[in-house]
């Protein structure tokens, strides 16, 4: 019984952790090119999910709704980049932190007024009935999250390595100034990264909504976890976010089972502060040599 419970807790926690990982991956994409992250990413997850819900309600089938949602997410990502991030980056100021928060606040309020304040179910053709694998109950919905997360991360990594545009992306991430000298527009690459990051956020919304429902506040808890995962893993390690995300998810589940649900987050938070103190660039981040 006990081993089974631990297994059950770890698996369902880790699957939730994959959603943290996906949102964290969105942070990494923009950090790579511009050293900035969108503090309003949670609102991007939320409005993209609402938009996809509207598409579904309009009668679009699932396979058409998903690309539609991703496109919308990319568009909103571009809005954040244009309105909030670009000016601050040009001025080399930290204004992007505040502007991305402010734009998020606006999205939140707009969503409340457009789609209402209530949480709503998100219809999906994927069944929510549990299946038993090795004594652990998992729903197909939860498995679909895993499939979606790995699929989009794989696609984007492939894109970065195999296409010309993707290589430009990598070049700007590695050295912005050198890339500019080689004729790669860093502004366009930053735009691209915000677009991709928006799509990733949208996918996170579409994947998680059938489990958690859609509502204006749906992402507020998720986003802080995702931020933790991104920083602990290291802001440059796509592989790291997956591991750290699953680990944190499982840890939370187990902590909530053994310590009581109120203390659910405490072990994760303490580990997080320790991990940062020991490895400031993240567990999987590259250590940098201080040069002067």
């Amino acid at each position: 019984m006990n081993a089974q419970i631990i297994g059950q807790m770890a698996v369902s926690g880790a699957l939730m952790g994959l959603v943290y990982a996906l949102i964290a991956y969105g942070f990494q994409l923009t950090f790579a090119t511009s050293k900035s992250i969108n503090f309003g990413q949670g609102e991007l997850v939320m409005i993209s999910a609402f938009f996809s819900l509207t598409l579904t309600n309009l009668g679009f089938p699932y396979w058409a709704m998903v690309p539609g949602g991703l496109l919308f997410g990319a568009l909103m990502g571009l809005v954040v980049e244009r309105a909030g991030v670009r000016l601050a980056l040009e001025q080399k100021s930290e204004g992007w932190i505040l502007l991305s928060i402010i734009i998020g606040l606006f999205f939140f309020s707009a969503a409340e007024n457009i789609w209402g304040r209530d949480d709503r179910p998100f219809p999906t053709p994927i069944s929510a009935d549990p299946i038993h694998i090795l004594g652990v109950d998992v729903t197909r919905l939860e498995l679909s999250v895993a499939v979606g997360v790995f699929a989009i991360m794989g696609l984007i990594e492939l894109f970065k390595r195999r296409t010309l545009l993707g290589k430009a992306f990598e070049a700007v991430s590695a050295d912005r100034d050198a890339a500019e000298l080689m004729g790669i527009s860093s502004t366009r690459t930053v735009m691209l990264s915000y677009g991709l990051s928006g799509s990733v956020a949208a996918l996170a919304g579409i994947l998680v909504s059938p489990i958690t429902t859609v509502g204006p506040t749906m992402a507020s808890a998720l986003i802080l976890k995702a931020f933790s995962v991104a920083v602990v893993a290291g802001l440059d390690s796509g592989f790291g976010v997956v591991l750290v995300g699953m680990f944190l998810g499982a840890l939370e589940s187990l902590a909530s089972f053994y310590l009581g649900s109120g203390w659910r987050e405490a072990p994760g938070l303490i580990l997080l502060i320790l991990a940062l103190a020991l490895r400031p660039n993240g567990v999987f981040g590259k250590a940098t040599i201080r040069k002067v």
Binding site: F31, I37, A83, R86, L87, E90, Q91, S93, E94, G95, I97, L98, L99, I101, I102, I103, L105, F106, F108, S109, A110, E112, N113, S220, L224, F227, S228, V231, V232, L235, G262, W263, E265, A266, L269, I270, L272, I273, L274, L276, A277, P280, N281, G282, I289, R290, K291, V292
Partner: protein
């Protein structure tokens, strides 16, 4: 003097006005808002220490507000003590926990620091929520406002108490931030490496800054508790934290006035926006202001098109939307967001940053006159050049993985000489400097300064031992003036203890320090630019300033890391002259340089490195003719003069 009077006058007028409001207006709501304004003023001044001066996104401040509030609440409800001990306890909780949090967070910067502080905030909310026996958990803690010195605190009295505390905090912080401490905080933000290398402990100052800011958060928390008289853990979460951050940046960082203006905006605006009439007035005025500023900016080409147009569009959206939307209360958050957006885009330096420029133009108040420069001979007395061994390196090694950057270096630097260290790119010169100055720990080998082992692996300790350095890639404190850059590094002047500084009793010391710093600036020809921000100086002047700053350490050994890199020819000549002046005062110098002419002109001894090893040593002339040196520089062995000459050595 006029400037000081004007500034103090403005403070007096505003505080006097705020203090008389309860006598003029008998409106409990207005009084409630103003009380909260005073509390948030203290809170934001505390936050500004970390966000503005240290330049770090601190997301734990709201936790100190909460912990302070609970500390005060528990002291009153559980221990039955009065208001004064409660407020003291609240401040102390902030101070101690802030100091503790600073320890692991010390090594972190940017997003990592933000996350560490965020985690602390989440942990403290969890603890307040779960420790039900103590805090009442989610059901909250009700308390009443105890009397102070036997007087019951009516709302106006409580308001005055908050105002008095704000004024006291204001005064203390003003003194502190204008002192060596405030400069050290700012230096930390611009370059932690240089701060350490100038012998100003980043450790001590970071902990101090964080603990100080947090203690103000705690104090504000105590007042918060007595203001609302009901506490719940979920009041102190991320949502509020974001609003606080917005307040600091909106108001303008690194400014007491900025914190106060920020507090005004975040306290008043959301509450006033509920009133439709006020909303329409604000949006109309905002639109007109944005339009005027935008058109002016575009015509004069002082702002980018986006910066000029975005606020106009945002405010226009508000004005138009206000006509169509039936219920503005539903859209309050969006309205707040649009207004903040306009301010942040239009005024990147914050409201006070903008007003300060504007007022400076309006009044044209000159800066307080600087003292006369101190006498250079007392400041840097000429030392005898006895030629004894000052720095001895023995078999020094530093490897990076498989790369042997420095591979067995044995070298003696004699007192009173200029010792050149040259070599082609990648020969290990900079690594040597970084090992000596404590940035890197040596892999093996020993270093002795005057026969005493040199501390290893700590910039700060090496600086304290009497070694000062400059940086090849400039590490100036960009936001500080040239004068302040030198003041930060100045050794042996600041002796007054912290309480004296807080009370503003260290002015005499400050004048003495300024005189010394000016003397050093004069030595390198920057006296006229003493009040220019380092980032606004010309490149040449920045290089010179690095040297003046290092001199402020009054060092035994001065290491100049490629001081002529990137300089134009006239500047190089000047540079040579400055270095000679310094040399005349008997200061030993290690000069890392590419320019052969600079080296020949200045150095007594030259050591040539290649591949981490010494290939030649001697006077400049000897070295110049050394075959290995020629080979290393030209990439090929010198033409053999005799058939069957020396084998080419491996590079």
């Amino acid at each position: 003097m006029k400037r000081i009077l004007l500034l103090r006058g403005a403070e007096l007028v505003v505080f006097a006005f705020l203090a008389t409001i309860p006598l003029l207006v008998v409106n409990p709501y207005a009084l409630g808002l103003l009380t909260l304004l005073a509390i948030y003023g203290i809170l934001l001044i505390g936050l500004d220490v970390t966000v503005g001066y240290l330049g770090q996104v601190n997301l734990a401040h709201v936790a100190f507000l909460g912990l302070g509030a609970y500390a005060a609440g528990l002291v009153v409800t559980k221990l039955g003590l009065g208001m004064v001990p409660a407020l003291l306890a609240a401040t102390l909780v902030g101070l101690v926990l802030g100091g503790l949090l600073a320890l692991p967070a010390l090594r972190l910067e940017g997003p990592q620091f933000a996350l560490a502080t965020l985690s602390f905030a989440a942990l403290s909310t969890t603890a307040l929520n779960e420790l039900e026996a103590l805090t009442g958990g989610a059901q909250g803690l009700s308390l009443s406002r105890p009397p102070i010195l036997g007087h019951a605190l009516t709302p106006p009295l409580f308001y005055w108490l908050c105002m008095v505390l704000l004024a006291v905090v204001w005064m203390l912080m003003r003194n502190l931030l204008a002192s060596q401490w405030g400069r050290a905080f700012e230096a930390l933000r611009d370059s932690p490496i240089a701060t350490d290398a100038m012998g100003v402990g980043t450790y001590k100052h970071k902990v101090a800054a964080f603990a100080l800011g947090s203690s103000l958060g705690g104090l504000a928390g105590g007042l918060y508790a007595f203001n609302f008289q009901y506490l719940q853990p979920q009041s102190f979460t991320y949502d509020l934290m974001i609003i606080l951050l917005l307040g600091v940046v909106l108001g303008g960082r690194k400014s007491l006035w900025g914190a106060f203006v920020g507090a005004t905006v975040i306290v008043l605006l959301p509450n006033l926006l509920s009133n439709r009439l006020l909303f329409q007035i604000f949006s109309g005025l905002g639109f007109a202001g944005a339009l005027a500023a935008g058109v002016q900016g575009l015509v004069k080409k002082t702002t980018r098109p986006f910066q000029a147009l975005a606020p106009v569009v945002a405010m226009g959206l508000l004005v138009v939307g206000g006509l169509f939307v039936e219920n503005t209360e539903d859209w309050r958050k969006a309205i707040f967001a649009l207004m903040l957006f306009s301010v942040v885009v239009g005024l990147p330096e914050g409201i006070m940053g903008f007003l300060a420029l504007f007022l400076a133009k309006l009044f044209r108040v000159p800066h307080a006159p600087l003292p006369e420069p101190a006498d250079l001979d007392t400041l840097l007395p000429v030392r005898p050049a006895d030629g004894s061994a000052l720095l001895v390196l023995d078999d020094l090694k530093r490897y990076f993985g498989g790369v042997k950057a420095v591979d067995g270096l044995t070298m003696t630097v004699r007192a009173g000489t200029i010792h050149g260290l040259i070599g082609p790119n990648g020969s290990g010169k900079s690594t040597v400097v970084n090992v000596i100055s404590g940035l890197y720990t040596p892999t093996a080998g020993t270093m002795q300064l005057r026969g005493v082992p040199l501390p290893i692996g700590s910039l700060y300790s090496v600086a304290q031992a009497g070694v000062a350095r400059t940086f090849q890639n400039l590490q100036l404190f960009g936001e500080l003036t040239a004068l302040e850059n030198v003041l930060v590094a100045l050794k042996g002047v600041y002796r007054n203890p912290l309480p004296m500084v807080l009370l503003g009793l260290a002015r005499r010391e400050e004048r003495a320090a300024q005189a010394q710093a000016l003397a050093l600036l004069e030595l390198i020809g920057l006296r006229e630019q003493a009040l220019v921000k380092a980032k606004d100086l010309t490149y040449g002047a920045q290089r010179f300033l690095e040297i003046a700053r290092a001199l402020a350490r009054k060092p035994d050994l001065l290491i100049l890391d490629e001081p002529a890199a990137g300089l134009a020819h006239p500047d190089v000549l000047q540079q040579i002259e400055f270095i000679q002046r310094i040399h005349q005062r008997g200061i030993t110098i290690i000069l890392i340089e590419h320019h052969m002419d600079v080296v020949s002109e200045l150095c007594d001894t030259v050591t040539v490195l290649d591949g981490g090893r010494i290939i030649a040593e001697g006077t400049p002339d000897e070295v110049k003719r050394h075959p290995k040196v020629v080979e290393a520089y030209l990439g090929q062995p010198p033409q053999p003069e005799l058939p069957g000459g020396a084998e080419p050595l491996p590079a």
